[in-house]
Every structure is written in structure tokens, then in C-alpha cells.
């Protein structure tokens, strides 16, 4: 009886394991752009190239590489373009910080206008 339970437990653990890895792969697929489609991630696409990159990512996951390592590898090979979310670097300083600058300027302007009236 305990044997059977153990086998079941093992099966359960195994299954959980594969699912966990699968969802990690899916999360990564959603971060990687399909290079031949229009604005789709490889997750949404079933183009041949997308399938190849999916396979590559699965292999790298099973080799124990971290998400970061996998992304760095992809960027090295295909450029920043392949990442769905642009990284914060010299090219994207304005992209990431400008909105907050706008917000602060606005807050300051409204406050000054009100104080001017008081």
C-alpha cells in the first residue's frame, strides 16, 4: 500500500515539475518577439522560426540556465529587438524616464499656479 502511495506521490511530483517548467517556458516565450511576425511574441506565433526559438529556450531551461542568461544569449544573437520589453540602457533612458519627468513637471506647475493665487 505505501509503495503505491509512494509511486503516486512520485508521479504527482514529476507532473508538477513538468508543469512548473512549462509555465516558466511560457513566461519566457511571452517575453520574446517572433522575428518574422508583426508584433507577436513567439508564444502567440507558430511560425517556423518561432518554433525553433521555443525549442532553443526549452533546451536551455533543461540545461539549467536562468531566465537572464537565456535572454542575454538571445540579445547577443538577435539584438535588443527580440525582447518584448526594452531593457533600460543608453538607448532607452528617454523612453523609461520621460513620462515621470512629465508627471513631475505637471505636479509642480499645478502647485505653483495654486500658490500664486493664494
Amino acid at each position: 500500500m505505501t509503495k503505491i502511495i509512494k509511486i503516486f506521490l512520485l508521479l504527482f511530483l514529476l507532473q508538477n515539475n513538468t508543469i512548473a517548467e512549462d509555465s516558466r517556458a511560457i513566461e519566457l516565450f511571452k517575453e520574446v518577439r517572433c522575428l518574422v511576425c508583426q508584433g507577436q511574441t513567439i508564444h502567440e506565433s507558430n511560425a517556423e522560426l518561432a518554433e525553433d526559438i521555443k525549442k532553443l529556450i526549452r533546451e536551455k531551461i533543461s540545461q539549467g540556465e536562468t531566465d537572464r542568461q537565456i535572454k542575454e544569449y538571445l540579445v547577443e544573437r538577435y539584438g535588443d529587438w527580440i525582447l518584448m520589453t526594452p531593457p533600460f540602457n543608453s538607448l532607452t533612458y528617454i523612453l523609461w524616464s520621460f513620462p515621470f519627468l512629465i508627471m513631475i513637471i505637471g505636479a509642480f506647475a499645478i502647485y505653483r499656479q495654486k500658490r500664486g493665487q493664494a
Binding site: Q38, D80, L83
Partner: protein, 637 residues
């Protein structure tokens, strides 16, 4: 040779366009207070403009319905075997036809405004004149650069057909609705310019503008929602908003317009923020132009399509540029004269609206940057970037929290200085209730992300606050009429935000390679792959899979995702099969089979989708109610 009938139609329709050009020219000349062109009057000319364009539009519909392939437009965009409704919607499923529809709506707004009463003659003349300058520009563009009535000398046997992805009943009505929104802002723009010219941007101006700006906004909201709903079930990617350039292009004028309607309201009530309202009116219309045309000309998707058709793209860019230069120089020249001395206290409803205006501008900046930045780096630095959904969600989420807070608190503040702590004490039960519910939700669903919790909390606060504000009894226990439009739209927005966040958190998906007979699992449901068969329809063939959804062994529903093979033009599309339930949607979509043995099937559980659409619907209805209520009737203290 083209048939004799086709030739006649060709001459007549082009003649009609010329008539509209002349009428619009005469109409625009009234901008100068001249004595020569007093006759024909504004209304007569508006009739001529409307009838000429309406007739040419009807002719174009007729050409599509009878499939006259002597006309290039029909040849390239229609097919004789297409179902009737898509022959009809094929009229605006292309550049030239949609331009004509755009102009028709432009002329219609011009006409409706010309008929409206209780507006001084001179102000009406100037507004219609400005509107007619635009009509002239667009009809000239249509006539010379993208004439829908161009004919060919070949006797084509059949047409090429409409892109199958556009062959959808929703997409037949999506463009007209969206266009009514976009074009509605042209009238608001004309009114703003007329206000600048007459230097009368005051409370009366605001009450003239109000119904137009609200109805345009409601239509734009509905148009965007229809597009999003279409993407949800037609594209088969399991999402409703992808932050792609085309969607963003329609969201940008919406954000500007949302700021604008609130400014018009404060202008009407308090006679403040004249300049800012005018700037927003100009901005909204410019963004509407960007939304309609830059999308169609392909500049946003790819720089290369622009090069392939430089004439059209350049015209639109030039037009937007002229509008901006003209209106801002007029603004710079006259803005001193329209501004009254502002007086708004720091803690007041006006300030709340001002703050949210600025937050909207910040969100607009984000959407603009996200859309244009990759284009800029590509053109200027030759470096490609992708700006995906995560950029938008991470930058916008914190702003939404503040935005929801001010949306909740502002209507509760008075127009004059209010003590904030008094309001908070007044609303203590409301705040405690929302806080408790949020805590329960976050514990029950194991939600521990601070941003998400805060969005849910403030949305909940906004919803409850808007609902309680609309149920208001006076001392005699009679239900007082309150600002229903506002409360409905605000509650809708809160519901929408809650649904968006919970949907993002609790969506689940599985991808399987399945063979007939397989049982696939998604949460507590089992899907048995029953069979796959070929179906022949009039305009496509399809591969239809049958999945039986079971829960605890009992059959609940049958799913039939399809892959369609259209022949005119040859295209493959994937049709999702969706079960809508109140709390969640179940969504099955099949990919084109890689091999003969199995198909790839993707299953999604999308919670709160129905609620998401419900929130959107509330916003639209709120807008319509506000548009139909004339000024001053629902004034609160």
C-alpha cells in the same frame, strides 16, 4: 472597354465630388465677413455638401453590390461570391472607400451643426467655414490622390476579394462607429478655432460644445471597444488589447478627449481653463487624424509602406502640420484675450480634475513614446527596439492608482476650498467597506502584489462611491436626480480597471498537441477531442474540431475551434471557440496543423471578461447620457 453604364457612373460621381468642392469653397469664404457671398446661405450650402457626398457614397455602395469590376476599387476589394454584408462593408474596408466614409461623416457633422439653433449667426458661419475648409481639403485629396471612382479598361471577370480577417460582422460596423468618434472631434476643433477667432471661449461656448464633444467621445469609446472585442475573438491570441501601434493610435485621441470633456465641464461651470481646453481640442483632433490616416497609410506599422505610397502619407502629414501651425499661431495671438482670471482653490473639485488631466497627459505621453520610440531609434540610429505590453503596464499602473484616487475624491469635493479631512471623515464607512472587501479578496485569492491590491482598492472605492452618489434622497425621501451619466461612466471605469487587473492575474492557459480521442485538462474541466471534420462554406473551406467540455463527468458544452481557408484572396485564419460565462470565459483556439497526426490546441481561462465588457458598456452609456443632457439641468450645489 469599360461599359457605357460604368462610364456614366464615373462621370456623375466625379462631378458630384466637384460640386462638393465648390460648395465647400463658397462655405469657407464666409470666414471673412464679406458682403459678396451672403447668398446662398450656410444651410443651403450645407445641404449641397451633404447631398453631393451622400449620393457619391450611395453610388459606391451600389458599385460594390452589383460587383462592377470596371472600377478599380471594386476589383481590388470585392468578389462576386462574397456574402452580401461583406460586399457592403467592403466599401469601407479599403483606403479610398474609408476616406469617402470619413468625408461623409465630416459633412454630416457640418450639416447637423448648421441646422442647430440658439447659436449666434456669425459664430455658426465661422465654425461651418472652418469645417468646410477641412471638407475642401479632404475632398480635394480624395479627388486627386485617392479617387474611389477610378476605372480600368480591362473587363475583369471577377475581383480579388476582401481580406478574410476583415470579413466579420463586427468589423463591418467598427470603422463607421470609430469614424463618427474621430470626425466628431473635427467639429469640436472647428468650434475651438471659431472661439479663438471670435475671442469668445466662455461658459456659453462650453455649453455649445458639450453635446458634440460628449457624443464624439462616446462613439470613439464604442469604436475602440468594438475593435478590442473583435481582436479578442477573431485574432485568436487570447487577449483583448495588444498595445500595437494601430490600437495605440486610437487610444491616444481617446485619452486626450477624456481630458477634454472634463475641461469643457469645468469651463461651463466655473469659466476657467480656457486656454487649456482649446489646446486639448486641437490636440484631440490632431491625434484623431493621426489615428485615422497614419494607420491606413502604413507609416506606423512599417516605414517602408510609407515610401511605397509617399503621396498619401505626405498629404496627411502636411495637413496635420498645417493644422497645428495655424491653430497654435492663432492661439498664441489670441490666447491672452480668451483667458479670464482663474480662481480655483487648492483643495477643490477643479484641482482634482486638473490633476487627473495631467495624469491623462502623462499616460498619453507613455502611449506616444511607446508607439513612436522604436520608429525613431530605427530611423535615426538604425537600431531596432520592441516596446511590448509590459512597458505600458509597468509605467501606467502606478499612474492609474493616483488617477483612480482623484476620480473618487474629486466629485466629493466642492468647487470652492474644501477641507480634505472632513470629506474623508464623511466617507469613512465607504472607505472602511472597500478596505475590508479588498483585504478579503487579496487573502482569498492570495493576491499580494501591492500595485494590484491598490488598483483594486481604489477601483472598488470609486465604484461604491459612484453608485452611492447616484442614489441620493432628499429630505422628503424622494430620489433626487443626480449626474447619472457621470456616475455611470465613473463606476464603469472602476469596474473595467478591476476586471483588467484580475483578468491579468488569473488568466490561465495550456497548450496541447492533441489527437482525436485525447482528454485534455484545464483546471477542473476535461476536454475530450471528439472529432475533426471538413466543412465547406460559400466563401471558405474549414477544418473544424469538436471538443466536448466535461466537468465531473458531465457534458457542459461543445467547443468548435476552426481553421478557415479562404480562396479570395487566399488566406488562412484561425477561429476561436469561446464560452462566455459571467465570471470567466473559456477560450479554445487551434493552430494550423504541423503534421497530420495531431493538432496544436491552446486553451485559455479568461476570468472577468464579461465584466470587463460590461464596465466598458457602462462608460459608453454614461457618455451618451451626458451628451444628451443639455447644460445646467443637473447642476449640483
Amino acid at each position: 472597354m469599360a461599359g457605357r453604364m460604368s462610364l456614366y457612373i464615373f462621370y456623375i460621381s466625379n462631378f458630384l465630388l466637384l460640386i462638393c468642392l465648390i460648395a465647400s469653397l463658397m462655405q469657407s469664404s464666409k470666414i471673412i465677413n464679406n458682403k459678396i457671398f451672403t447668398k446662398p446661405g450656410v444651410i443651403v450650402l450645407a445641404y449641397v455638401q451633404l447631398i453631393s457626398i451622400l449620393l457619391s457614397f450611395l453610388i459606391l455602395i451600389y458599385l460594390f453590390l452589383i460587383s462592377d469590376f470596371n472600377f478599380d476599387l471594386v476589383y481590388f476589394n470585392s468578389h462576386s461570391e462574397k456574402p452580401l454584408i461583406y460586399k457592403f462593408s467592403g466599401v469601407w474596408g479599403n483606403h479610398e472607400g474609408s476616406m469617402l466614409l470619413w468625408i461623409l461623416i465630416l459633412v454630416l457633422f457640418n450639416f447637423l451643426f448648421a441646422l442647430s439653433r440658439r447659436i449666434s449667426e456669425r459664430f455658426k458661419e465661422i465654425t461651418v467655414a472652418i469645417q468646410s475648409i477641412m471638407i475642401f481639403g479632404f475632398v480635394a485629396f480624395l479627388y486627386f490622390l485617392s479617387n474611389p471612382f477610378a476605372i480600368n479598361q480591362n473587363n475583369f471577370f471577377d475581383g480579388i476579394g476582401l481580406n478574410p480577417i476583415l470579413q466579420d460582422p463586427l468589423l463591418a460596423i467598427h470603422p463607421p462607429v470609430l469614424y463618427v468618434g474621430y470626425v466628431g472631434f473635427s467639429l469640436v476643433f472647428s468650434l475651438a478655432i471659431a472661439g479663438l477667432i471670435t475671442k469668445e471661449v466662455d461658459q456659453q461656448w462650453a455649453s455649445i460644445v458639450k453635446p458634440w464633444v460628449f457624443s464624439a467621445w462616446a462613439f470613439l469609446t464604442a469604436g475602440i471597444a468594438l475593435g478590442s472585442f473583435w481582436a479578442y475573438y477573431e485574432l485568436g491570441w487570447g487577449g483583448y488589447w495588444f498595445w500595437d501601434p494601430v490600437e495605440n493610435a486610437s487610444l491616444m485621441p481617446w485619452i486626450a478627449a477624456t481630458a477634454l470633456i472634463h475641461c469643457v465641464l469645468i469651463l461651463q461651470k466655473r469659466n476657467v481653463m480656457q486656454s487649456w481646453t482649446i489646446i486639448l481640442a486641437i490636440l484631440t483632433f490632431s491625434l484623431s487624424l493621426v489615428g485615422t490616416f497614419l494607420v491606413r497609410s502604413g507609416i506606423l506599422n512599417s516605414v517602408h509602406t510609407f515610401a511605397s505610397d509617399p503621396g498619401r502619407g505626405l498629404f496627411i502629414l502636411l495637413f496635420i502640420f498645417l493644422i497645428l501651425v495655424f491653430s497654435f499661431s492663432l492661439f498664441a495671438y489670441n490666447s491672452e484675450k480668451i483667458n479670464k482670471i482663474n480662481s480655483m482653490s487648492l483643495v477643490s473639485r477643479g484641482t482634482g480634475i486638473q490633476v487627473n488631466n495631467w495624469l491623462l497627459i502623462t499616460i498619453l505621453t507613455i502611449v506616444f513614446l511607446g508607439t513612436m520610440y522604436p520608429l525613431a531609434t530605427d530611423l535615426l540610429l538604425n537600431k531596432s527596439l520592441t516596446v511590448g505590453p509590459k512597458y505600458y503596464s509597468t509605467t501606467i499602473a502606478p499612474i492609474i492608482i493616483l488617477f483612480l484616487f482623484f476620480m473618487f475624491i474629486s466629485p466629493r469635493l466642492g468647487w470652492t476650498d474644501t477641507k480634505l479631512y472632513k470629506i474623508i471623515i464623511q466617507l469613512r464607512y465607504l472607505i472602511i467597506t472597500s478596505l475590508t472587501i479588498t483585504l478579503l479578496i487579496s487573502l482569498y485569492f492570495e493576491l499580494f502584489n501591492l500595485t494590484e491590491i491598490l488598483i483594486i482598492f481604489f477601483s472598488l472605492l470609486l465604484v461604491i462611491s459612484s453608485v452611492t452618489a447616484s442614489i441620493n434622497f432628499n429630505k422628503q425621501n424622494i430620489l433626487v436626480r443626480t449626474n447619472l451619466g457621470q456616475n455611470l461612466a465613473h463606476a464603469g471605469f472602476g469596474i473595467l480597471m478591476m476586471a483588467v487587473v484580475s483578468n491579468a492575474v488569473y488568466s490561465e492557459e495550456r497548450i496541447y498537441n492533441a489527437k482525436v480521442g485525447d482528454n485534455l485538462q484545464l483546471q477542473k474541466y476535461i476536454f475530450s477531442f471528439d472529432k475533426i471534420e471538413q466543412v465547406e462554406e460559400s466563401n471558405y473551406n474549414s477544418l473544424k474540431a469538436y471538443f466536448l467540455m466535461k466537468k465531473d463527468g458531465k457534458l457542459i458544452d461543445t467547443f468548435t475551434p476552426e481553421i478557415r481557408f479562404y480562396s479570395n484572396p487566399p488566406t488562412i485564419t484561425s477561429e476561436a471557440s469561446i464560452l462566455h460565462k459571467f465570471f470567466s470565459d473559456i477560450y479554445l483556439v487551434m493552430n494550423v496543423p504541423q503534421d497530420q497526426q495531431s493538432i496544436s490546441v491552446r486553451m485559455h481561462i479568461k476570468p472577468f471578461m464579461t465584466i470587463l465588457w460590461l464596465g466598458t458598456l457602462m462608460i459608453i452609456i454614461g457618455g451618451i447620457i451626458s451628451a444628451s443632457i443639455r447644460f445646467g439641468r443637473f447642476d449640483e450645489k
